[in-house]
Symmetry: C2
Subunit: 107 residues, 2 copies
DNA sequence: AGGATCGTCAACCATTTGGTTGAATATGCC
DNA sequence: GGCATATTCAACCAAATGGTTGACGATCCT
């Protein structure tokens, strides 16, 4: 995967990883804490975090024995810009956004 | 893959499929014409088009023996909205966009 | 009818993906 | 030192992905 967009979009394609990003939106977190709400092994979450890191969507910094995960908005922004380059999109429509949030809540 | 974002982002993760979308930005195209610039079989392109269709990113309509492919911006817009929900992004930054285009041209 | 063109289907293959478990490494605590 | 905690590594597995080829069904043209 040469083009950075490949790894960014591939990373975003997994719901577990999108959920992790949403969690990190709140605050930086340790790997164990990221894993806590998920019904899957710590090793699996560790792999997801590695994928997000390779995509540039998060960064990880080890302090002591805990590794802190931090959202890195730049990569996401690049993907967002790619989408916007499909120019006919009017700048974000709040109605669409509200419908989206409503749809999310139904799940 | 239940969440529509799964299939949209998965579809966008492949460079061939992003290239197809960019082509369709110009105009609607027949499957054979979509396939022409790629060094891969028609069947492979047909599969890529099926993936884009399932993701809702394009639609296909058969008229006579040719099947026309048409960009469907709504699914893309939904993904774009999801990204924007990572709110700290200021509304699209033209400088970032110009840097992006410049970087693309270098390839 | 017969032939060429458009596109998909089916079977197959190699590679990647997303998960598991158990062992290993590194750090902090007493 | 010795134990608990935090995280990754390695080997493995099932399923999905991205490609191939060859046969097939539709449609158009003469």
């Amino acid at each position: 995967m040469e083009n950075p967009l490949d790894s960014v979009f591939a990373a975003l394609a997994d719901p577990t990883r999108r959920a992790i990003l949403a969690m990190l939106l709140e605050d930086d977190m340790a790997v164990t804490d990221v894993a806590e709400p998920f019904e899957m092994s710590l090793a699996a979450i560790s792999k997801h975090l590695a994928i997000l890191t390779r995509a540039g969507l998060i960064s990880q910094e080890k302090r002591g024995r805990v590794k802190w995960c931090k959202l890195e908005p730049d990569a996401l922004r690049e993907a967002s810009v790619w989408m916007q380059s499909f120019g006919q999109f009017e700048p974000v429509n709040l109605d669409a956004f509200e419908r989206f949030l409503e749809a999310e809540l139904k799940d």
